[in-house]
């Protein structure tokens, strides 16, 4: 029982650490790492939270879910790293460039029209 509790709290901690990392870091690799840690934390919760079987075994259904989840996370990581590398190649830097709020291509379309009409 106590084992479960420890890992439950750990899961909550790790997942939120991951989420925080995702939010605060600008470097793409850390963002991806953050998502992975978030996933690992949630997997911990999935296994530690439901009631244990009499023999101390974990519930097989969440186990299967986590197994699936690990493969899914792996796939996502692979694609994300690929795209991140291409970002590094195309923009020169592996960062998610901050767009300040909602960017506007040009001052305003309306003023553009006005200028053209004059």
């Amino acid at each position: 029982m106590s084992t479960d509790l420890i890992y439950l709290v750990t899961g909550a901690g790790v997942s939120m650490l991951g989420f925080r990392g995702f939010v605060t870091r600008a470097h793409l690799f850390w963002k991806i790492l953050g998502i992975n840690l978030m996933g690992s934390g949630i997997f911990l919760i999935l296994i530690a939270a439901p009631p244990r079987l009499p023999g101390g075994e974990a519930d097989p259904v969440p186990q299967a879910m986590v197994l699936t989840g690990i493969v899914v996370a792996l796939s996502a990581t692979a694609l994300a790293l690929g795209v991140a590398l291409r970002v590094a190649v195309r923009t020169g830097r592996p960062y998610l460039e901050e767009e300040a709020g909602d960017p506007v291509d040009h001052p305003t379309a309306a003023s553009e029209i006005r200028r053209e009409m004059e």
Binding site: I35, I42, R90
Partner: protein, 507 residues
């Protein structure tokens, strides 16, 4: 083998087999894969619609186990309508794409940077299609999660098919948001499984989730899904991603992909949780609606400020998504009243209006993006001034854009008009004048930005921009979608009847 089993399998396995076929490569297999996917999706949609209309909701116990041990596919009115929408829009976009990307057997494809997109659009899109159909039919929380991941990965891959730095960054952002959204969804799934020991949507609905844990779970899932749907203020990823993708991809993302996560929100809020049936949930519904209203106003205002055609349309998607969420506060029968449990039902017109908007927006927005794609294809530029006078050269695309805009703005006769009529009716019948005002205002703003584009398209410039001819198929597929959006305005009764099967009431 029951018909439900056959058709629901076809809906998922058809596009999947199509995707496998297209991986063989070559023009023949690309077209074969698309044909298999489109045919099976259309047939599945129609077959399931027939069953649902005649016999009521259908279910398919995958593996023969049934919930909660196994996974069930569920087909009710809402599901089949989304399936049909996806089949219709998907087929048209597939046809368009075969012309847009050119001949994949062309050796020049290896040289052109766009060759990659031409080769890989079809498999990526068919995997996307698989997951869309999978989401609409799924009756299981974890299965929804897996579908969402396919959806997220393939949708991001659609964006990064475009080679520009902008597109790569936009795709990266989209992928990250999508992944975190899925994680939040998974957190909700974990919490619900912990609390109730089942993953079946129906099982959870039967358990009647109330209390802290389900609330936290719903909160986490909703935030994750809202980020994927690009609900204001989590919308910042959408305009770059949808505008940078190749045009058929933009159409699919705006028309269908955002609807999938919206669909799950609807399922969870209405069918599983039944939020708001008791007075306490109304605040949450109002909150969703307020975000929707914010999206309508903010998205429209920003659309008006864009000088890039596809970005303008993308902002319009942000705005139109807002309408989907305005549905929620209009649902309760009594405005602001704290009703007792069981006394209150959902308003049929709000429900019908919201879903009808999702459907007609899918057709209209796909038509607009395809038409815009045709225009940018012709002039190889995406800025509004560069399409000056295009109306005279591509009249059919221009018309398709206009008709799509007509439906988007909710002007009669169109599907968008019917949707707005229904939502207005729900708002006015319960004296929610503020919501009615926002719905009406959004329509006017929509007209404004649609007209902005049309004005550029009509204007004749002294110096004609370079122009290349456009395959005819790209013109009439957009037109067909636009006409469908308009035609939806003439006969809503059957669709609303179909929506009634399963309805908005909690399971």
């Amino acid at each position: 083998m029951t018909d439900v089993a056959l058709w629901s399998t076809a809906a998922v396995a058809g596009p999947l087999l199509g995707a496998i076929l297209t991986l063989v490569r070559g023009r023949l297999f690309t077209q074969l894969g698309l044909a298999v996917a489109a045919a099976s999706s259309l047939l599945a949609g129609l077959g399931l619609t027939r069953i649902v209309a005649l016999e009521g909701p259908g279910r398919h116990l995958l593996g023969g186990w049934g919930a909660p041990l196994g996974i069930e596919l569920l087909a009710d009115g809402l599901a089949v309508i989304m399936l049909l929408t996806t089949a219709g829009v998907g087929s048209a976009v597939s046809l368009y794409a075969t012309a847009y990307f050119g001949d994949v057997d062309d050796p020049g494809m290896d040289v052109a940077p766009g060759g990659r997109a031409a080769r890989f659009f079809t498999p990526v899109w068919l995997l996307l299609w698989t997951s869309l159909n999978g989401v609409f039919l799924s009756g299981d929380l974890f299965n929804l999660y897996v579908n969402l991941e396919i959806l997220g990965l393939s949708a991001a891959a659609v964006v990064t098919l475009a080679v520009t730095a902008k597109a790569t960054l936009a795709g990266m952002r989209y992928l990250l948001v999508s992944l975190v959204g899925s994680m939040l969804f998974l957190l909700g799934v974990a919490l619900l499984y912990t609390a109730y020991g089942t993953l079946s949507l129906e099982g959870l609905a039967a358990a009647g989730p109330t209390g802290v844990v389900p609330a936290v779970a719903l909160g986490a899932m909703t935030v994750g899904l809202a980020a994927k749907t690009a609900l204001f203020p989590l919308h910042a990823w959408l305009p770059p991603a949808h505008s940078a993708a190749p045009a058929p991809g933009s159409a699919l993302l705006s028309a269908l992909v955002v609807k999938a996560s919206f669909y799950i929100i609807v399922r969870l809020w209405l069918h599983v949780y039944g939020v708001g049936l008791v007075g306490a949930g109304e605040g949450a519904l109002l909150f969703l609606g307020a975000l929707g209203a914010g999206a309508v106003v903010w998205g429209s205002l920003l659309a008006l400020r864009q000088l890039s055609l596809k970005r303008l349309i993308a902002y319009s998607t942000v705005a139109q998504i807002g309408y989907l969420f305005i549905m929620f506060p209009l649902l309760p029968e009594v405005a602001g009243g704290v009703a007792q449990e069981g006394e209150m039902g959902w308003r049929v017109d709000a429900w019908g209006g919201g879903i009808y908007h999702a459907v007609s927006h899918a057709f209209a927005k796909a038509a607009m993006f395809l038409a815009a794609g045709t225009m940018t294809y012709a002039v190889a530029d995406d800025s509004l001034p560069s399409i000056s006078g295009i109306a005279h050269r591509l009249p059919m695309s221009f018309l398709a854009f206009g008709l799509g805009g007509l439906s988007l703005a909710g002007l009669p006769p169109s599907g968008g008009f019917v949707a707005k009529w229904l939502m207005l009716s729900a708002a006015l019948a319960t004296d929610r004048w503020l919501w009615a005002g926002i719905i009406a205002l959004g329509g006017l703003l929509t007209i404004a930005y649609v007209l902005l584009v049309m004005r550029y398209a009509l204007e004749v410039r002294e110096t004609p921009t370079a122009f290349r001819s456009v395959p005819r198929r790209m013109e009439w597929t957009a037109m067909a979608l636009a006409l469908t959006a308009v035609a939806l305005g003439f006969r809503a009764v059957e669709i609303l009847d179909l929506l009634d099967v399963g309805g908005a009431a909690p399971w």
